[in-house]
Amino acid sequence: MKHLLGTQDMTREDATLILDTTAQMAATQDREIRKLPTLRGRTVVNLFFEDSTRTRISFEAAAKRLSADVINFSAKGSSLSKGESLKDTALTLQAMGADAVVIRHWASGAADRLAQSGWMHGAVLNAGDGTHQHPTQALLDAFTMRRHLVTEPDGRGLDGLTVAIVGDVLHSRVAGSNIALLKTLGANVVVVAPPTLIPFGMAAREDISVHYTLDSALEAHDFDAIMMLRVQRERMTGGGSGFFPSPEEYTRLFGLDRARMDRMPEHAIILHPGPMNRGLEISAEAADSPRSVIVEQVSNGVAVRMAALYLLLSGEEAPND
């Protein structure tokens, strides 16, 4: 692996390797001394064109626990108010000797572009690009599901599990990455959203089940895991461009509450990439129930990012043997 750009082209072998490595990284995080010397002397740059304190902190913790030097580079700018160009930023990072760049960007494809443009040589880790991909989120979700739902998880995928993804699939890079990775790892994917928030062509896909209400999905499937996506309140219902009529209607049709939670098999777990809108897509009861692994997702996020950094940065030079 040279870069981690998305899950769409990730092989099952690579995905499993990352998850297995994550398990070893996670084990080190229970110790008193959590720091490892592995990436000593290497420089990881967090390049954020879009605010995301959670993701940045997670990558920062991961890099620091592997003893890498971390530089946080917040490059503000949007499609409307262009700041410094990605190219100039990349050239700057190259000059500073960045071994890896963790990039969060508002533009879909920015990570791919950075990796392929030749503007810099280091490894590129996509920390979320537009509405495209967020691979480490999908990997940490898969890791969390595997740990809870698969016995002797090492080396295994998610074969035969049924996973629901509920909410704004259209704009969600989390959903995009998860769907691809879940399919690669052998899970059945059930997408639940109003038709306005289903991406073009997804309803016609034979390898994905699409439901337009959460109740019909619960009726048709026994979920092993349910993933609630964050609703962007303001964007979803603004003026004539609203994707659904009101937050109240969304909650009625797609919110995960006690009653719906009780309709899932006992072992089923609840995931949410955060931050949650309590009372909108998920009720407090569901979010705080013992089935919820939402807090664990956060700690697994650090481990998965450690694994990704390790795999991308530890064996860079030409092999000797």
Partner: protein
């Protein structure tokens, strides 16, 4: 050299089907037999070359005034001549907008000064392309620039009332509205064709219906008010169907297709290389097949390039920040040959129709699109249909090099262009004749 210099083009294949000589005297075709050549005439051996009436591109962006960093009338003219064109229509989305007689006259006179192609300014339909108020089209039509084509290209004349008025108003001077068919609400933030690839890439979609719904409305408006309508850069299978239906009903509509829509698809966008970012976007293979069929059966009238130069900094960046558009003047002939001629869908005579005769007629370009006959203006394009070449974007005569065709092999290209008997571009192989 002056226009009186006589030139003899020997053994050219006129329209690809009739071998003859073209004797050019005083800017006109004086004879089709070299025996009639005046003494001292320069001679070109055109064996194996196809001679067509000089090509006319009804849709280019020359960027001057305002964005001379991307293109100037001079560099754009040079690129056009190199691509085999003798006349181009320069779109109105300049800075300032070509919405007054002053601006269009400036463009026209600069074109004349450069003298490599006839530059016909397109006038804006609405003031500042803002879609609120009709620009003074009458003044532009009656100016020295004699504008006949009006377009807000880059933006759609979206307001149906305004579009209706524009269609009606240009009847006064036999003008035409060239519509950039794009429903703005359906394409807010759009980055590429809405389809399976946009889903994979997470890029906001530009649905085919946003083009088709405007075209459908416009042909009905054109029918209602009895005006002529020209549809810019048609790109979808549905649009072809609508034009086919409109023509069957006798509606006075013409349509153009771009070379890139004949060759490339949304699959090219994978990889996020902004050279493939264009508006309307690259569509699916089914759409490519449909526009090729539409061009072959005459539903689509012409090929135009939508030559849209952008400086490096607007393309050497992430997709979302990149400008839309691609240059295309020098690759048009090769792509039309590759996609239409070599497959047998069009003859070279058809190419003359879709790239010269009909565009000249839509634009009311006097003296262009004329047959290769004695007495006609010597506007001639020589094409070498066997000159296989690989596109090298930086080799362009345009000031910008944002071609999506870099590295693609094309079967042929223009090798010489004559504007009223004067060579405006000649391939290096003719250096002997024009040293």
């Amino acid at each position: 050299m002056t226009e009186t210099d006589a030139i003899v083009i020997e053994n050219a294949s006129l329209y690809g089907d009739t071998t003859a000589d073209l004797v050019i005297v005083d800017g006109r075709i004086a004879s089709l037999d070299r025996a009639d050549a005046p003494a001292g005439a320069r001679t070109i051996d055109a064996s194996g070359l196809v001679a067509l009436p000089g090509l006319v591109d009804i849709h280019v962006h020359l960027r001057e005034p305002g964005r001379e960093d991307a293109e100037t009338i001079e560099t754009g003219s040079r690129s056009a001549a190199k691509g085999g064109f003798v006349a181009v229509h320069a779109m109105a989305n300049t800075t300032p907008t070509a919405d007054t007689a002053g601006v269009v006259e400036q463009v026209a006179s600069r074109g004349k000064e450069v003298g490599l192609v006839d530059v016909y300014p397109v006038g804006a339909v609405t003031v500042g392309l803002e879609g609120n108020q009709l620009s003074e089209m009458g003044a532009m039509a009656n100016s020295r620039a004699q504008v006949r084509v009006f377009s807000d290209d880059g933006k759609c004349v979206h307001d149906p009332v305004l579009m209706r008025r524009a269609l009606e108003y240009v009847k006064t001077f036999d003008g035409v509205i060239a519509q950039h068919a794009q429903d703005p609400r359906l394409t807010e933030g759009a980055q590429m064709h809405e389809g399976l690839v946009s889903t994979d890439l997470g890029l906001a979609g530009w649905p085919a219906v946003a083009e088709e719904s405007i075209i459908a409305r416009d042909v009905l408006l054109a029918e209602h008010v009895g005006s002529r309508l020209h549809v810019c850069h048609l790109s979808t299978a549905g649009s072809v169907e609508i034009i086919r239906w409109a023509k069957a009903k006798g509606i006075d509509v013409t349509a153009e297709v771009m070379p890139h829509h004949l060759l490339l698809t949304d699959e090219n966008v994978r990889g996020y290389d902004p050279r493939f970012k264009v508006n309307p976007p690259l569509r699916t293979q089914a759409d490519v097949d449909a526009v090729r069929a539409g061009l072959a059966d005459g539903t689509i009238d012409i090929v135009a390039t939508d030559h849209a130069p952008h400086p490096d900094e607007d393309k050497d960046c992430e997709w979302g920040a990149a400008a839309m558009g691609m240059i295309g003047l020098e690759t048009a002939v090769g792509i039309v040959q590759k996609t239409m001629v070599d497959s047998g869908a069009l003859s070279w005579r058809d190419v003359a129709r879709v790239m010269s005769t009909t565009p000249a007629s839509i634009g009311r370009d006097e003296g262009h699109g004329r047959p290769l006959e004695v007495g006609e203006p010597a506007n001639i394009t020589l094409i070498d249909p066997t000159a296989t070449w690989t596109v090298e974007p930086s080799a362009t005569a345009s000031r910008s090099n944002n071609s999506p065709f870099g590295g693609i092999e094309l079967p042929g290209r223009a090798v010489a262009t004559f504007l009223r008997g004067r060579p405006t571009y000649t391939d290096v192989s003719f250096e002997g004749a024009f040293a």
